[in-house]
């Protein structure tokens, strides 16, 4: 997994609540058996005017100029500013794969759906929770200022705005450690093989029918 520690990135505001993973990456792109290449189809139905299918040359498709990701001032954005319950719905990890492949490294929202939130950390993507009034203030700042960037420091758990305002955020210690060091869970879990085996033996004795 790609490490994450510091970012000074352009922010794009996606001003709607309950953005679901079907919207982040529509189902037809889930037919891929790969983990990469989903970026051009992130938010496909909002981003393009035509219907997207796998294998299309996305550079030749007509863009929905009204969609925020297509506006010239937000090109190259690495921080997605969003509203409540971001990433709800389907568990598809293709959603964080698409956001990461598009170029996002950080999402800032008041709340996330649980599965999506988990999936982000497995893919070098940092989902930050900030109080709704702070997110609201950021929306106003982004919209009012061209080229609005934020500095995100995972080690210090702090976001710094151009005017010097600092927003502290919480992050689970284990997830922080994994992100900072680019560690995958599987290797870490396999350090506890003996404990897993011991548990399994005990579990098998208690509920043998689970192992029949």
């Amino acid at each position: 997994m790609r490490k994450f520690s510091l970012l000074d990135g352009l922010v794009v505001p996606l001003d709607r609540a309950n953005v679901d993973t079907d919207a982040i990456i529509p189902k037809q792109f889930l037919k891929s058996i790969k983990r990469s290449g989903f970026g051009p189809n992130a938010f496909d139905e909002w981003r393009y005017l035509d219907h997207g299918e796998p294998g299309m040359d996305n550079s030749k498709r007509s863009l929905n100029k009204d969609f925020v990701l297509n506006q010239p001032r937000y090109q190259g954005a690495q921080i997605l500013l969003a509203r409540e319950n971001f990433g709800c719905g389907s568990s598809r990890e293709h959603a964080p794969w698409a956001l990461e492949d598009y170029g996002f490294r950080v999402i800032i929202a008041p709340s996330y759906a649980d599965i999506f939130f988990n999936n982000c950390f497995k893919n070098g993507l940092l989902p930050i929770k900030l109080a709704a009034d702070k997110v609201d203030a950021l929306f106003k700042s982004v919209e009012a200022n061209n080229g609005y960037k934020l500095k995100v420091d995972l080690e210090k758990q702090a976001i710094t705005a151009p005017d010097g305002t600092e927003y502290k955020f919480e992050v689970d210690a284990f997830r922080k450690h994994c992100l900072l060091n680019g560690l995958d869970d599987i290797g870490l879990t396999l350090e506890h093989v003996d404990e897993i085996k011991a548990f399994e033996t005990k579990h098998r004795a208690a509920q043998p029918w689970l192992f029949a």
Binding site: N85, C88, S91, D114, I115, D185, T189, H192, Q207
Partner: protein, 467 residues
């Protein structure tokens, strides 16, 4: 604190190790696998030269991409076909039991797990699919996971997790005529919102829940994720045990008696503490219909499409306005005046035998309305289809003008060829009414099978509690 919730019991009996920061390793008893969220996990295993920890804990089935007609001809879309073939190849390589597309036992992963007895009380169940919450109906701890976690469980038989908070949703009283588990689920979501259960495991309890069949309990737990909760669950009782008995993967002989004795302990203790409690009176729940693009945008069938002017804040008002524009609806329209173009009865929410029976009972001796272009019934599995045909339900439905299809996820998410055209309006028994979910530009109204079948006959929504 000695009184435990059902969730405490399920959690405690699976903790392999607990770290000081709250992170735990949880042992997984059953991993269900489908073609969409597993190829990258198998590939990850291969690249790291790892093997699945316990293949016997896995059960695989293709369901999202499979066609629901002319299956003998195979899958026409080459990308869909490759995904299903990849599942077949991975299962063959690692020795994972798979019910292939033309196996009578094939079906939607959340239908076949319980049907086979592969989902048992007391288990931890995971699948790379958010509707894994369905299996909680069996007093199991079941939730959806991402593909990285699918690979993690394959490689280690464990999941890295933090314990959720516990929510009790208590539904007392008796459901009225024509009101179903689906209506309870939608009413709960309408009450607490699609993020109301975020961070919680929900236990559904109360007289109305006890009175539900296993099919009904599965419908309810299936929709827990639409309330934001990764896991929903119902305590084990005689209904649970009777359902499991004799199924192919269920315990046999002496194991059966031991298992039943254990399963009878799978309920919340009297006095157990929940972090949140929500109460509903079953008698007050009416048939529900969603009007917008989130399952929380729901009203009773005798209600009206809400007016964004009445929304409590600006973000919500914007969401309602966008939803009404997408759905092509005007504020204050009575729900029963909304005409539909298509009907979809099926999915992991409502694709079980009871759902087929409910649809057939509504359709018997009647005809699908002229304005309804397509009314399709998609059984949740080959065995559900077989049972329905044995009962003659297919003949009733076909005589009424419904199409009777082969099992799969179908138009719940429209990954195969079953989908809405832009602007088409559908009464669907599935679980999500998101923009584009059933096809780009398609408009979905979530309802129960009774409501969907009645809408197919009338051509618009009708109140089945008054039929």
């Amino acid at each position: 604190m000695s009184e435990k919730t059902l969730y405490d019991k399920l959690w405690d009996s699976h903790v392999v190790r607990q770290d000081a920061n709250g992170t735990a390793l949880i042992y997984i008893d059953r991993q269900l696998v489908h073609e969409v969220t597993s190829p990258q996990a198998f590939e990850g295993l291969k690249l790291a030269q790892r093997k699945p920890w316990r293949t016997a804990s896995m059960l695989a089935v293709p369901d999202h991409n499979v066609p629901t007609t002319n299956r003998a001809a195979g899958i026409a879309d080459p990308i869909s076909r490759l995904q299903v073939e990849t599942l077949d190849a991975n299962c063959a390589e690692y020795g994972v039991v798979e019910f292939k597309m033309n196996d009578i036992r094939q079906g939607i992963v959340h239908v076949i797990g319980p049907e086979q007895g592969a989902t048992l009380p007391g288990m931890t169940v995971v699948c790379g699919d958010s509707h894994t919450s369905t299996h909680g109906a069996f007093a199991a701890l079941a939730h959806g996971i991402g593909t990285s976690e699918v690979e993690h469980v394959m490689a280690t038989q464990c999941l890295v997790a933090k314990k959720s908070k516990a929510m009790l949703v208590k539904v007392e009283g008796t459901l009225g005529k024509g009101v179903t588990a689906k209506d309870i689920a939608l009413a709960v979501i309408g009450k607490i919102g699609t993020a109301g259960g975020t961070g919680y495991a929900i236990e559904f309890a109360g007289l109305a829940i006890r009175a539900l069949s296993m099919e009904g309990r599965m419908t309810l737990c299936n929709m827990a994720i639409e309330a934001g909760a990764r896991a929903g669950m119902v305590a084990a009782d005689d209904t649970t045990i009777a359902y499991v008995k004799g199924r192919p993967f269920a315990p046999k002989g002496g194991d059966w008696d031991k298992a039943v004795a254990y399963w009878k302990t799978l309920h919340s203790d009297a006095g157990a503490k929940f972090d949140a409690t929500v109460e509903l009176d079953a008698a007050q729940i009416k048939p529900q219909v969603t009007w917008g693009t989130s399952p929380e945008m729901v009203v009773a069938v005798d209600g009206r499409v809400p007016d964004p002017a009445s929304a409590t804040d600006a973000v919500k008002r914007g969401d309602w306005e966008r939803a009404l524009a997408y759905m092509g609806l005007k504020a204050n329209t009575p729900i029963t005046e909304i005409k539909i173009d298509k009907v979809f009865i099926g999915s992991c929410t409502n694709g079980r035998i009871e759902d087929m029976r409910a649809a057939a009972a509504m359709a018997k001796g009647k005809k699908v309305a002229a304005n309804v272009k397509l009314a399709m019934v998609v059984p949740g599995s080959g065995l559900v289809k077989q049972q329905a045909e044995h009962e003659g339900l297919d003949k009733i439905l076909v005589a009424a003008g419904f199409e009777w299809r082969d099992p799969g996820c179908s138009m719940c998410l429209a990954m195969n060829d079953d989908r809405l055209a832009p602007g088409e309006r559908c009464a669907a028994t599935s679980n999500r009414n998101f923009e584009g979910r059933q096809g780009q530009g398609g408009r979905t109204h979530l309802v129960s099978p009774e409501m969907a079948a009645a809408a197919a006959i009338a051509g618009h929504f009708v109140d089945v509690s008054k039929e």
